[in-house]
Symmetry: C2
Subunit: 116 residues, 2 copies
DNA sequence: GTCTCCTTTCGACAAACGTCGTATGTTTGC
DNA sequence: GCAAACATACGACGTTTGTCGAAAGGAGAC
């Protein structure tokens, strides 16, 4: 038989995504950076994200995003490619990703000089 | 007079709300229920929300929501009135609250009818 | 074959979270 | 003045989270 490959990557079906899980997944600066990077540049290998955390930490964040249904991952060779489930998210929660990405793109500094 | 002698309720200015804080505040079923109740029915006293947690727990959730800038509270007599900062949120993160509330209203129903 | 690269899993840790019961303080009403 | 109603503050508890380093394992290159 075919060798049992790596542990199967579980992805929740598009129809069963839960809002609280998605919000929780996005309520973290590192994960928000990951999502925005995917949004801007499309599918990516894990090691190519502009975040400053240990590889094992990044794996943890990917699992949170994956189990919430925000991203999907597939394996090709020795790389694991990660992509945004933009269509699924938009089908389940129309406009949510767009609005959050637009808000995340805003500078943390207010127009009147307010900090953060 | 309007002001009270109780410890002053601190509310972050509208321009300095942080997206991750708002998302984190909304990434909880109880708090999401509170926000939706405010959205539907306007200002309310603390004890009148359709949630099933201890009063002290509810106070904790109100603080999370208040410090994230999602709600504001004012005191009148022996009641504390809580209101949604819909305008401030929409100014800082346009459309965010609308989209999340719309998503929260979707048929995501849990086992015991819990909303998501 | 061996070796290297990429990513994950496995503890481990401190910090934060959600929950509660009890005590405290304020306001209203008797 | 005294008691009840409303909401908070405090302390406590178990769980979850974000973080890391070390070890493991598959895929491709040599």
């Amino acid at each position: 038989m075919i060798s049992s490959r790596r542990p199967l990557l579980v992805h929740p079906p598009a129809g069963s995504l839960r809002l609280v899980d998605v919000l929780h997944a996005l309520a973290d600066p590192t994960r928000l950076t990951v999502v925005r990077t995917l949004r801007d540049g499309g599918e990516r290998a894990c090691g190519t994200f502009p975040v400053d955390v240990a590889p094992s930490t990044l794996t943890h964040h990917f699992r949170v995003l994956r189990e919430a249904g925000v991203v999907q991952q597939r394996e090709v060779g020795k790389h694991r490619w990660t992509a945004l489930r933009a269509d699924d998210l938009d089908a389940r929660f129309p406009g949510l990703l767009d609005v959050i990405m637009a808000s995340a793109g805003e500078p943390a500094v207010g127009p009147n000089g307010a900090q953060v």
